[in-house]
Amino acid sequence: MPETRIYIIFVLLQASWTFGYIGELLSPTLTGKIVWDNFQFIGYMFAPVFIFAFVIRFVGAVDRTPPKWWIALLAFPILTMALILTNSSHRLIRESSEIIADSPFHVLQYAFTPYVYLTLLFVYGLSFTGLGFLFRTFMNARYLRRQQIGIIFTGFLISMSSVIPLFIGVKLFGQRDVTPITFGIANIIISWGIFRYGLFDIVPIARDVVIEHAEAGVVVLDLENHVVDINPATRIFNPGMKYSPGKTFAQLFHSWQSYLQEYLDNKQTTFDVTDEVGDNKKYYRLVFSPLFVQRSNHVGTLLTIYNMTWHFETQDIITQHNRNLQLAAEVSRKITTVLDIDELLPQIAQTTAQVFNLYYVAVFLFDEASQKLQIAAGSGDVENIEDAKLDLELSNERLLVSQAGLKREVVQATDTLEHLGYKNSPSLPETRTEIALPMIVGDKLMGVLDLQAVEPHRFQENTVRLLSNLAEQIAIAVNNSQTFQRARQLQAETEILYRIGRELNAASTYADIIGVIVNVLDVNYNIYLNLFDTFDAGTAQSTIDTACWIHQKEFIAVNVKTYPAEFVPDMLAGQVYVVNTLEDLNNDPTLYSLLSQQNMQSALAVALWVKERRLGTLYFLSDQPYAFSSIEKRVLEGLADAVAAAIERIRLFDEQTQTAERLREVDSMKSQFLASMSHELRTPLNAILNFTEIVALEKLGSLTERQKSVLQKSLDSGKHLLDLINDVLDMTKIESGMMELFVEDQIDLYEELCSIIPATEILLKDKPVALIQDIDSNLPTILGDRRRIRQILLNLFSNAVKFTDKGSITLSVKTKSDGSLLFAVIDTGPGIPLDQQSMIFEPFVQTETGIKQNEGTGLGLPISCRLAEAHGGSLWVESEPGDGAAFYLSLPIRTVELEGMLQK
């Protein structure tokens, strides 16, 4: 408590002065008096310095008086003390001295030297200056403080009053100096004040301990809200503020006045206050507390000001961080739910721009093929950006976005005005901060996230970290989305190819193929299909066989034959060949002329291959440039395969159709030939047979036996020839599959047998062969070709007759339990060796015995066998050589197949 110490020193100095003066008065000798006088100079010279120091401190002006001032102020009293002690040698203080003995107490009397007047000026000047300070403070102070100052001021005024007579030359008590006395009185008054008002107890000590050194600002207000006291810390809150006790709170703390008004109920009240000066945001906590003296005497208000800026900044950072985390969470959530990249990226751009309050946010995606960063989404007015065709070359090192992509690290222009070589985009003139963050998944660069703000130094380190995480998450999302898109695209492609394949299967002409492509792909291109007649892979020479083309879904020409090969150049470069603009074709004049003639701008050619064979080329032409730049080559290759397969199939089908047509023609010719031969052969034969028979019957006159015999042989040979012709025709019909049954229902077998048996008997003539009948008595009527069944049975009988010279021929007809009829013709002829039994059913084969007989055509059994099979039955033989043969014919009574053939 410096004030207290200073005041005590001051009091001690004054006391020493008074003590010295008493000593001087009591001392009997001149020398003694001079010693005491010298002793008085200590109090006289130093007390004013200390009282001034006390006042300065008491009014709070201490920090305006640097320490060297005090050294300067002390220098003069020290010099004076040195001069006094050496006065005898220089007489600067006292030239001569005498004792004035006008009272019981003798006073040392000496004339004032100029130096003594200098000390008077110093002592009283300093004292009155201090008094002035006190007075000013007193005038501004109120209540307790005023009373305190009043006491001190009064004390000093009394001290100083002694000098008044000195200056006006009135000597009240002779030559005696009253100053030491008045100082004593002043000491008494101030000491009373110390006890009465606690001068050092309340304000100064509190100030020292709490206020002066407090970090918090402290302002003491009186009841009228004048500032009574203020501590140095308060300046921190209001640097321009001057310590001006007595000013009102409103004058010093204008912006906080409203809080004071709210506090009026005089209960301790706390306010949290924000002060914004430019970018600087300060947070304060104001605590107003009522001040009481002796517990109940309300004398003023204590305002404590806490600087909460750090606290709130921390809170702000936390809030910001939370918000950022929320954004990250939101992005994550979207990433997991939104798989459509076209939907996701604009959302990310918008959200990021909003949450961070940014000027512009753009997402660039990296296209590996072109090594370009293509803008995929942007916040705000994106249209301008897109107009600018923002495809950035990855290698363009002047651009932050490209740099970030190339270096795969965050690149930032913290202040674009100071960033070397930075050029604002014309669409974004206000950008002051730009940060480009690479979006990377594993080793793969997915793209770049670009953020722009209008304020310089916008992104702090922790924000950059968070944005990096964000970019990483977007990269993952983009990667997922692209994977998903690819899968979906692949599925769509597969579906398209499946549809094309399926619909192409139904295509039967080349025009159909083009129609399918147009329908399935739903394209509006001109489509050409050139099919090669010949193609030489070595020279790439081809001859166009067929060219079809479609224009705006409407066929213009199909099957243009003899298309000049050189008119449509061949593209051997690969399966798919794309022409984006006519400029691409500067060194391909043929194709250039083809396209320009039709006002086409871009083209796509797909080679059509089947295995190693080049079938032709499928062209798509568009009147727009770059129409095929993004088309999926995979789809086209699949399409080409399907089209090639369809073309091949159509060609094979055409060939087959032609072959079948030729075969039909040949067949028809054959049938025609057969019918014609039948007619042509039989017509003369008819004449021969009929004429011969009429003559043989002696209708034209009687004949000799020899004539009749010859005519009969002629007739037999003629009939044999007719049989041969009939059998050959039958066999040919069977072989060519043209045999048709003439199916009738309810064939009465008895009736048929009745006509067959007499014929057989005629054949037997006078051979010693018995004809035995073993026929069931109630045979069913059957379904079949009456004439053919009769033909089979006659054939069997005629064979039996032919080969049987003696013994018997048995005809057996039985109904079988399985719903069939079994005919058996059993003879007692030579029989058939086992190895020949299967041969006899083959056409144009006769057994040795048969050949020897020199009769028959050798076709009877094969024809009978086929006819039996055509009826759904069968014909077989059982024979032992030398023991006759048994031919069996099994016929179903009726079958569904025969019913189907039943004639109306």
């Binding site: 039989r682 003369p684 008819n686 004449a687 009929n690 004429f691 009429i694 209708k699 007719l722 003439f742």
Partner: protein, 135 residues
């Protein structure tokens, strides 16, 4: 009966005409028949006949109208559509017989004619029977 009936035979092949002529004279023993050498102006010539034929025998393969066309011409004339019309065919093609039946012939007799059964077939036809007797 068969000697009293009147027959019309249409045949463009001379040898067949001669055979039929001989059969009519020697086997059927009748002179009541007319033979057309072709089918041109057929109905005019039929109407020009003094006697309405009781049976018309038609060769199938002939010119200018084949047997089917000739049948159609007769059938479309109400005065003659009740006359039995029999196809005489050298064709043994079975489907041919089927076609004849479908076309509405009253019968078919195959060539060469079986002189032994021919008179009997004529008799049956005259009695209204349908006769299918390809050789």
């Amino acid at each position: 009966v068969i000697q009293e009936a009147y027959y019309l035979y249409v045949e463009d092949e001379p040898m067949s005409r001669e055979v039929m002529s001989l059969i009519m004279e020697t086997i059927v023993v009748t002179e009541n028949f007319t033979i057309f050498e072709d089918s041109s102006n057929f109905m005019e010539r039929v109407r020009a006949l003094e006697i309405k034929p009781d049976i018309i025998l038609i060769d199938i393969q002939m010119k200018p109208h084949d047997g089917f066309e000739t049948l159609e011409m007769i059938r479309s004339d109400v005065s003659y559509n009740d006359v039995p019309i029999v196809a005489l065919t050298a064709s043994v093609m079975h489907e041919e017989v089927h076609r004849l039946r479908e076309a509405g012939f009253n019968g078919a007799i195959g060539k060469p004619l079986d002189v032994q059964t021919f008179p009997n077939l004529l008799e049956r036809i005259l009695q209204g029977e349908h006769v299918w007797h390809p050789s």
